[in-house]
């Protein structure tokens, strides 16, 4: 059967010609998006630029947007994207400048990786033989080391869309890999650095990275785990950590969230500039009757409190 691909073309030597080009190829039930693109490149139009190599979802070269969502095209079957055979649109990965057609500039990606010191930093005496560590610890890291640095998460990250300075899900997941390696001797320093701006607290928890990751690395989950670890390590002076603490306190006390208190606590009670800045919003809300003056409670808040105590005590 036939499948039409609508591919975004861009030639830096002829920028005016940018636009979509359609190609129709013969496919079967098992044909992948990459198979189809290779057919285009090898049999129809050799000028199509794209990165691809292993065809077996291990090299990470071929992440691109298929119908608007980042995917590793070597493992994406055409019929999973378009069961009815409708035209499929292929764009280069997002949030990275386009070099040509489907090839994007990965330098910012690699630079951010380098920024998290992505190598083991052991401390103390190096043993003659191997470090003794548990299999459990190593197996836990396999989940993160499964990351093939394909860039799908970075492509679709909603924070990177508005803030290119954000470290991003891939670099943060890589940071987690070292924070959780028992052989690394710099956990606190690493967490301290990640606690800074553009680090773990800038993630908006939108789950795009979780959704698009072809390797189930769960970058957002790792970022959340590191938020917890930064707080445990004593880094408690960020808006993010205050926000989380306030949220927890409020639910523990009332069973429900006290939004007003949350806003104030997160900014910091004595953070005059922030308070002043937020005043117009607060005033408007008050005038529209949206300002919850008194925190509302669930009907049996003491039962909720007990759950907190039981589990936090573990």
């Amino acid at each position: 059967m036939e499948q039409t691909l609508r591919v975004k073309r861009f030639d830096p030597e002829n920028p005016g010609s940018a636009g979509y080009q359609e190609y129709t190829v013969e496919v079967t039930d098992t044909t992948t998006v990459l198979d189809a693109l290779l057919t285009v490149r090898e049999e129809m139009d050799g000028s199509l630029a794209m990165r691809c190599s292993c065809r077996a979802s291990i090299c990470g070269s071929c992440a691109m947007r298929v119908d608007g969502q980042a995917k590793l095209v070597c493992k994406t079957r055409l019929n999973s994207v378009s069961p009815d055979g409708a035209t499929i649109t292929i764009d280069p990965a997002g949030n990275m400048p386009v070099i040509k057609d489907l090839v994007v500039e990965f330098k910012p990606f690699w630079d951010k990786m380098k920024a998290v010191k992505p190598y083991l930093q052991p401390e103390g005496v190096i043993p003659d033989a191997e470090y003794l560590v548990s299999d459990e610890d190593m197996v836990h890291l396999v989940g993160v080391v499964n990351c093939i640095q394909c860039g799908a998460c970075v492509s679709d990250c909603t924070v990177l869309e508005v803030d290119p300075n954000f470290l991003g899900p891939a670099a943060l997941a890589k940071a987690y890999r070292f924070v959780k390696d028992p052989r690394d001797g710099h956990q606190k320093d690493r967490l301290g650095a990640l606690n800074e701006s553009s680090g773990v607290w800038d993630c908006t928890r939108c789950m795009q990275c979780v959704e698009v990751c072809p390797k189930d690395v769960n970058p957002m989950g790792r970022i959340m785990a590191m938020r917890d670890m930064t707080m445990e390590s004593g880094f408690n002076n960020t808006a993010g950590s205050r926000h989380t603490e306030s949220f927890a306190k409020s639910v523990k006390k009332n069973g429900r969230l006290d939004e007003t208190k949350l806003a104030v606590d997160s900014m910091g009670m004595f953070n005059i500039p922030a308070m002043l800045d937020s005043a117009p919003v607060g005033i408007r809300a008050m005038m529209k009757g949206k300002f919850p003056w008194k925190a509302h409670k669930s009907s049996e808040p003491e039962k909720v409190k007990r759950v907190f105590e039981k589990i936090e005590g573990e």
């Binding site: 508005v162 607290w201 795009q208 603490e245 809300a285 759950v307 589990i311």
Partner: protein, 299 residues
């Protein structure tokens, strides 16, 4: 059919108009429900980042309460829906983990047996009540109006926790409801993106930019309003729109943000006050007027 109603914290707190309009619409549809008054906040993902087990325990407690009531849970907040769906999936996949949590809940005589179903009003309308029945309650046909759908991250990701395999119609449920009123659903690139609320209190600049991008785009595409099933999104898209507007060269956006029940209420011919439409930061006057001028629905 009865439901264990879970309005969530913000529906009652920062966006009280949601609870008001949801109740009005559900009454009109004859949806029988009883609130799970003892239920705690879902944690909204914030509690989970501090202690996932704690968040899961609070949600499993809610599931157990609903189980005791013998009915499914209905939410009116994308975030509540998503957090609960994820928690449910975690405990159903790991019986040992569920047993640990049940041990904690045993103290108040609760035990979750794993049967609770959690559905947002959005899904209930499309899947259980059905568009035809819904349309019977409409007195207006909102043709001539266009609404931009904005789902809210938690009700679209991760897709395998939200039952999209069994219910593929969920992916376009908001558009389905918009179109059921006679209005046009405006395709916009921010539809399943993030509103920015989770980082509002942490990196306000980024959060504002997200609001500016999504509401600005929808406005440019000619939408009369944006419709969202998530009050947290509403807080940001509505409450911080004035600030977001400053990010645009024109300095203006002025896109009213409607809660899902408010849109339905307009199609049902309800009065603005019944739907809490006076409580928005961004004025809803224009869209109310347009809806009022819309033709009567043809049965």
């Amino acid at each position: 059919m009865k439901y264990a109603f879970y309005p969530g914290c913000v529906a009652r707190g920062g966006t009280p108009e949601l609870l008001v309009s949801a109740n009005a619409v559900m009454d009109r549809l004859g949806i029988e429900r009883e609130e799970i008054v003892s239920a705690a906040c879902t944690g909204a993902g914030v509690l989970q980042e501090r202690n996932q087990k704690l968040g899961d325990a609070l949600n499993v407690r809610t599931f157990a309460l609903a189980e005791r009531m013998g009915v499914p849970i209905m939410t009116i907040c994308s975030t509540c829906q998503g957090v609960m769906s994820q928690a449910n999936r975690r405990v159903l996949r790991d019986p040992e983990y569920l047993a640990e949590i049940n041990e904690v809940l045993a103290e108040e005589g609760l035990e979750y047996k794993g049967t609770t179903v959690i559905k947002h009003l959005l899904w209930v309308l499309v899947e259980e009540i059905g568009i035809e029945e819904l349309q019977k309650t409409f007195t207006k046909e909102l043709s001539g109006l266009s609404f931009a759908p904005f789902y809210g991250c938690y009700i679209v990701r991760p897709s395998d926790a939200l039952g999209f395999d069994e219910h593929p119609e969920r992916e376009t449920s908001l558009e389905t409801l918009i179109e059921s009123t006679g209005a046009v659903a405006v395709e916009n690139s921010g539809k399943t993106q993030c509103c920015g609320l989770p980082i509002l209190l942490i990196n306000q600049s980024n959060a504002i930019q997200m609001v500016s991008n999504h509401t600005g785009e929808a406005k440019d595409l000619g939408a009369d309003a944006m419709v969202t099933p998530c009050p947290l999104c509403h807080l940001n898209l509505d409450g911080y729109q004035p600030k977001a507007a400053k990010r645009r060269p024109s300095g203006k956006i002025d896109l009213p943000i409607l809660h899902l029940p408010q849109m339905l209420g307009l199609a049902m011919g309800m009065q603005p006050k019944e739907l809490g439409l006076q409580r928005h930061i961004i004025s809803t006057k224009d869209v109310i007027a347009k809806a009022a001028a819309a033709p009567m629905a043809v049965s």
